[in-house]
Amino acid sequence: MSEQIDQALARKYDAGFVSEIESETFPIGLDEDVIARLSAIKGEPEWMLEWRLKAYRTWLKMDEPDWAHVDYPKVDYQSISYYSAPKSMSDKPQSLEEVDPELLRTYEKLGIPLHEQEMLAGVAVDAVFDSVSVVTTFREKLEEAGVIFCPISEALHKYPELVKKYLGTVVPRGDNFFAALNSAVFTDGSFVYIPKGVRCPMELSTYFRINEQNTGQFERTLIVAEEGSHVSYLEGCTAPQRDENQLHAAVVELVALDDAEIKYSTVQNWYPGDEDGKGGIYNFVTKRGLCEKNAKISWTQVETGSAVTWKYPSCILKGDNSVGEFYSVALTRGRQQADTGTKMIHLGKNTKSTIISKGISAGRSDNAYRGLVRMGPGAEGARNFTECDSLLIGDQCGAHTFPYIESSNPTAIVEHEATTSKVSDDQLFLCRQRGLDPEKAVSMIVNGFCKEVFRELPMEFAVEAGKLLEISLEGSVG
């Protein structure tokens, strides 16, 4: 049976096409001039350039982290281009009609039509192509509710005070190596602002697409939910199939003020590289949210792509009674490596966190959960529950769990459960004996294993995530 599983794991990546688009791309290399040029192209305020340069100088003194359970050749940061944008975007199209049709076709091919009438009802989309945002839909409707949803480069012009007030407050410039790099060179990403007491009338989502060769994508997303507000946000990511590795180093900051709630979902399907580990995206991401009093931040991620993933969406539970959640499905196959998990930092009283992590390893991949639960001295009555399950498909893959628990408050309660199981020959045989082909059988077993997490995704995306797993596992048994 394991032979069939191996065959089944032969991959197919639907989003691997390249769009023929004329781009303006910086020559490779990074120094202060490059950063100044980048900032100038975007017409940024002076303070932003200063901020970037400070980050750059910090980054120069830092070392790339090597503690993760991943193994990849060191990235040469001087061989990457730090800015690439479709030429047509430099005219700053004012409406969808003015946007290069080839760009729109790219998103259509990815299943994300950008014409509002064709879109999923109730989902607003910001489409980011390489280093720029192509279009943001449903803006007027959102504006009526007072919600700001726009590219962060635009927010720097229109709402500089808001950006300045919150940028870097949750993930400081020098937080870690990749965050510092991102702070120096970030290009685009989404900015979301939900005013006090407003329940955002639609799902917000951003689709990130890397197209150009030898470029990195460094997006920055900032979501601010004012007191008592509520927002659900989803990001999706894809990239063409290329033989070279490409770097994606993003920073996402969430600020949930008193009684606010942010639900942040990710369906990550960057190109994972081929069967032998050639090519693929390095996905080195820092995501963190800050919860004030009674606030709630919920991270849900479905990670199926990328050659190497280094990602720990975290919550700082600063306010009393605040709640953090992390629901994760990470699927690795072929030669993929993932080191992912979360940090729940309990500072306030009666703070609560829940971690449900489902790791699925197939092929010759390595899948690690790494999580930290920290109960600070002030975390009276705080509680955490962690469930960490690994599913192995075949016998050449690895699953690892690195839970860290630190408690400085005797009243805090931390629970950790972990299981490791295999898709057994018995299960496969049962399914096949009932007429299902092996691929269908594996995908059904895997979907069952992930059910607790899929339940947390917004409805439209739960279906998409299920399908994504199916495609990812196509050929994984045969």
């Binding site: 049976m1 057994s424 020959d425 018995d426 299960q427 045989f429 049962l430 399914c431 096949r432 004996q433 009932r434 007429g435 299902l436 082909d437 092996p438 269908k440 059904m444 077993i445 979907n447 069952g448 294993f449 992930c450 059910k451 607790e452």
Partner: protein, 252 residues
């Protein structure tokens, strides 16, 4: 509909079936009895095509087709159903989803349309009723946390849903009390329609009080050593399998 000729099969290095012959016509119920280790369960696995059960020689034809040449799922689609002795759990996949995928995969293979949700639901509810499983079993994970008896009834529920041409019951009576046994038997009997054939593998005669076989075969050391009508099962009940050892010098 099924014809097994001189079948030899092994698991790893041990040859278990050593020249088994069996002829089954549509609508017939054949009971296979025999001591532990005689090859009863192996027969079910070989017919359904389980990995690790290697056919050394012989042939199996089903309605004129070479069964041994088919994949596991192709055999299922062609109408072979195996009710497992130890049904395995599939956590998180509901019985309902599982059966829906399964019923439709088999229908598709037969060139039939997929059932609509309403049609499927009606069928599933009827099947549950027949084996006296509460309807909430449809929502529970496949065999997840089911008792031994519930698992066995769930297997028969699947049999009823999938309408096979040949159902192989692998010790569907083991671990059941009399009440549960009657439920299982009633479910099976409801599926006897003069066309569907059955192989009922059992260690004990007890099950055959409730599912009346047309033929009883005693299997020992990998082949059928005696065949007869239902009365043969009674003989076994009275005298056990020890006579086999005497007759053939085989360990019972």
């Amino acid at each position: 509909m099924l014809s097994i000729n001189d079948l030899h099969a092994r698991v790893e290095d041990t040859t278990i079936l050593k020249g088994l012959d069996l002829e089954i016509k549509p609508g017939e119920v054949h009971a296979i009895m025999g001591p532990n280790g005689a090859g009863k369960s192996t027969l079910g696995y070989v017919l359904s095509g389980r990995d690790g059960y290697e056919v050394e020689s012989g042939s199996v034809e089903m309605n004129g087709k070479d069964l041994l040449d088919m994949e596991v799922e192709e055999r299922a689609q062609a109408g072979i159903f195996l009710a497992f002795q130890y049904p395995v759990e599939i956590p998180g996949v509901s019985n309902m989803e599982f059966m829906k995928e399964s019923v439709n995969a088999i229908r598709e293979a037969r060139g039939e349309n997929a059932l609509s949700s309403a049609e499927f639901l009606k069928k599933a509810k009827d099947a549950c009723k027949q084996v006296e499983l509460p309807l909430d079993f449809l929502k529970r994970g496949v065999n997840e946390g089911f008792s031994g008896g519930e698992k066995k009834r769930n297997e028969i529920m699947q049999l009823i849903m999938l309408e096979p041409k040949l159902a192989i019951l692998d010790e569907s009576d083991s671990g059941l009390d009399v009440d549960a046994l009657q439920v299982v038997a009633k479910g099976v009997n409801s599926q006897r329609d003069g066309e569907r054939s059955f192989i009922v593998v059992t260690h004990y005669q007890r099950l055959l009080d409730y599912i009346q076989p047309d033929y009883v075969h005693i299997i020992s050391n990998g082949k059928i050593v005696k065949s007869g009508g239902p009365e043969l099962a009674k003989e076994v009940e009275a005298s056990g399998y020890a006579w086999l050892a005497e007759a053939e010098g085989v360990d019972a």
